[in-house]
Amino acid sequence: MPFASSSMNIFSVAGSAMTAQSQRMNVTASNLANAESVAGPDGEPYRAKQVVFELAPSGQQDTGGVQVARVIDDPSPARLVFDPNSPHANADGYVAMSNVNVVEEMTNMISASRSYQANVEVLNTAKTLMLKTLTVGQ
């Protein structure tokens, strides 16, 4: 009958996307917060983190939700700032700052927010449809 398990699946698909996007936003928040960090607990400058999305297959065919495959460190070199008075300055007077690109992080955040909203909309539509399906024939 029309109430196939496939319509239930929309919830898990959109839900996984929302989880993945909020994790992306979490990473962005961490990057933005540490944009001016000089050194982390290990003494090395903070490296920007990026999430890598991948498909989470839900059946025999290659559609499904999203999952975060891994979180990678941005390989770009640390930003060098000339500040001879800093205790972290090297022999030439340069301080290695985090390699966070603030503009990139802001656009990343907006993109994540839009994708999140799109999935919320999907979820609401699916919910409306299922509620209507429950009242069929009444």
Binding site: M1, P2, A4, S6, S7, N9, I10, V13, A14, S16, A17, Q21, R24, V52, F53, E54, L55, S58, Q61, D62, T63, G64, G65, V66, S111, A112, S115, A118, N119, E121, V122, T125, A126, T128, L129, K132, T133, V136, G137, Q138
Partner: protein, 135 residues
């Protein structure tokens, strides 16, 4: 008698099934809008529905396991094999993703509307059958 009732609603239930399946595929496209190398998929609704109505469902795909020879054979009907097609991208992106958010959202809204109208038709049909039964 009962099979006639079933036949009366068969076309609409197949169409509704397919709409629900398409809704799921479109939801997966929207969910994977930022996934590298994801290719947007879709169902050719017309041909798949025609195939589902004409050929019926393949009966061999779903069956219940019997642990005794005296069990009744539970024969469920499987959904027809739906061919998921690939969408042709209008603007290719550098990470190999072919999801065009505008296209997917329009299709999603359109499919939701058609699903609802299908539900309305089924509801009206059930009411008609019901009033015929109660005469």
């Amino acid at each position: 008698m009962i099979d006639k009732l079933d036949a009366a609603l068969r076309f609409n239930s197949e169409a509704l099934n397919l709409r629900a399946r398409r809704q799921e595929v479109l939801a997966a496209n929207i969910a994977n809008a930022d996934t590298p190398n994801f290719k947007a998929r879709d169902i050719d609704f017309n041909s798949t529905l025609a195939q589902a109505v004409e050929q019926g469902r393949s009966a061999n795909a779903l069956g219940m396991t019997t642990t005794s020879a005296r069990h009744l054979a539970g024969e469920a009907q499987a959904l027809p094999d739906q061919d998921l097609l690939y969408r042709v991208p209008t603007q290719s992106s550098i990470d190999g993703n072919t999801v065009d958010m505008d296209v997917e959202r329009i299709n999603f809204a359109d499919n939701a509307l058609r699903y609802e109208s299908n539900l309305t038709v089924i509801g009206a049909k059930i009411k008609t059958l019901l009033s015929a039964v109660q005469q």
